[in-house]
């Protein structure tokens, strides 16, 4: 069947002048970056809509559509992809206004007869076309110490045992693939680039509620400042966007309740 695909094209941005789709951006194309504390900026991200027509099957993935467009119509079209089956998280983009994985979204999922609109994720600097700079996202991830910190005060004599019940406590948050769909769907992030964001909180939860971990307090400290969990407005966009069905708002709520209990 014939489909129409509208893609947001953004010319390649050098680091300092990268603009953020959906937020303000540097007015000068080639000027220095303006931090959040700077003067008001004057334009949205530079770019334009490009419309393509092509043949596709209803069971084609949007990733297949992009690959076909790139190889047959426009080799300059730029996007990220890797495994192509929903596990690496590389191809999260905005499809018809919602964050989804391109490799897990089928043409038939998007309603017949509508143009398919593809845009880069909102709230992160755009590098080119559908590729965004993941560094701010990953910086937030690192800030919550996303690795097991076990008790090393004594030399262990047995394994660190964990019962199935203890594992179940955090099992849902082990599923994160760092695709950024959740964090870039959050209205808080769009207006506050410093917001820690849902993904970092999910990965904090994964360790905080792991019975083998002892560094919950350090992570709570990272999450309790002005840009941490208390900024969450329970908008639920993250839960809807997550391709791994992690109940993110619920997870953030568990963190909040644990932090209040600890504060008391």
């Amino acid at each position: 069947m014939e489909i129409t695909v509208k893609v947001r094209r953004v010319p390649e941005q050098e680091g300092a002048s990268r603009s953020v789709v959906g937020a303000e951006s540097s007015g000068e194309m080639a000027g220095a970056a303006q931090p959040r504390t700077g003067k008001a900026r004057t334009s949205t991200a530079p770019g334009y809509w490009q419309t393509y027509h092509m043949e596709a099957k209803p069971t084609d993935r949007i990733l297949d559509v992009l690959m076909a467009l790139k190889s047959e119509q426009d080799g300059t079209l730029t996007f990220r992809r890797s495994c192509g089956h929903g596990i690496c998280g590389s191809d999260a983009i905005r499809i018809n206004g919602k964050n989804r994985l391109a490799c897990k979204t089928l043409v038939k999922d998007l309603g017949p007869g509508r143009a398919i609109t593809l845009e880069p994720l909102k709230g992160l600097p755009v590098v080119k076309d559908l590729v965004v700079d993941m560094e701010p996202f990953l910086a937030a991830y690192r800030s919550v110490l996303p690795y097991l910190i076990a008790d090393t005060s004594t030399t262990p004599t047995t394994e660190r045992l964990q019962s199935p019940q203890e594992h179940a406590r955090f099992e849902k948050t082990t599923k994160c693939i760092l695709c950024a769909a959740c964090t870039t769907s959050c209205p808080v992030l769009w207006t506050n680039p410093d917001y820690t964001g849902p993904m970092a909180m999910v990965n904090a939860h994964r360790f905080v509620f792991d019975s083998r971990d002892v560094a919950a307090e350090e992570r709570f400290a990272a999450l309790s400042d002005g840009e941490g969990v208390w900024r969450c407005r329970t908008t639920f966009n993250c839960t809807e966007a997550c391709p791994r069905d992690i109940p993110i708002t619920e997870v953030i709520g568990e963190l909040k309740r644990a932090m209040i209990a600890q504060a008391l």
Partner: protein, 146 residues
């Protein structure tokens, strides 16, 4: 077969400034669901009621001038247009309050996030019930039916 149309001008022309982009809301609309819209409505009703509150404290403060002055200010509230405005205000307050209760439940109850859409339905239902109780009385007073 190459068949591409370019719309919106060449890449060196930035898109025009909009108020939305100044608010950090530029670009296309994110198609979020009930959670997103209920948050936005909560924010809008909250800001609107706050602005009203600032004016309301001032108008009640006129009671310090004289009984006549205060009654004159209250007279403004009796105008039918103000009566309708009050109905909108009460609707905003009730919606904000009920959604606020929903938010408290989502925060405090471990199952709250799971049932947030059900809670939203509850908010709408209770809102309609309360407005059904309030509007006949209030509009009756406004338009002199009572």
């Amino acid at each position: 077969m190459k068949d591409a149309e370019t719309r919106g001008g060449d890449p060196t022309t930035p898109a025009k400034t909009t108020t939305l982009s100044k608010l950090g809301l530029g670009g296309t609309l994110y198609r979020g669901s009930w959670g997103q819209w209920s948050w936005l409505l909560h924010r809008i009703t909250g800001a609107a009621v706050f602005i009203f509150l600032l004016l309301h404290i001032l108008d009640v403060a006129t009671i310090r001038i004289s009984p006549g002055a205060f009654n004159a200010v209250m007279g403004i509230y009796r105008h039918p247009v103000m009566g309708l405005g009050e109905a909108v205000l009460v609707a905003a307050v009730v919606l904000h309050a009920l959604n606020g209760v929903r938010i408290i439940i989502v925060d405090a109850w471990s199952q709250g996030a799971k049932y947030h859409k059900h809670l939203l339905v509850g908010v709408v239902v209770v809102f309609l019930i309360l407005m059904a109780g309030f509007l006949p009385v209030h509009l009756g007073n406004t338009f002199g039916w009572r």
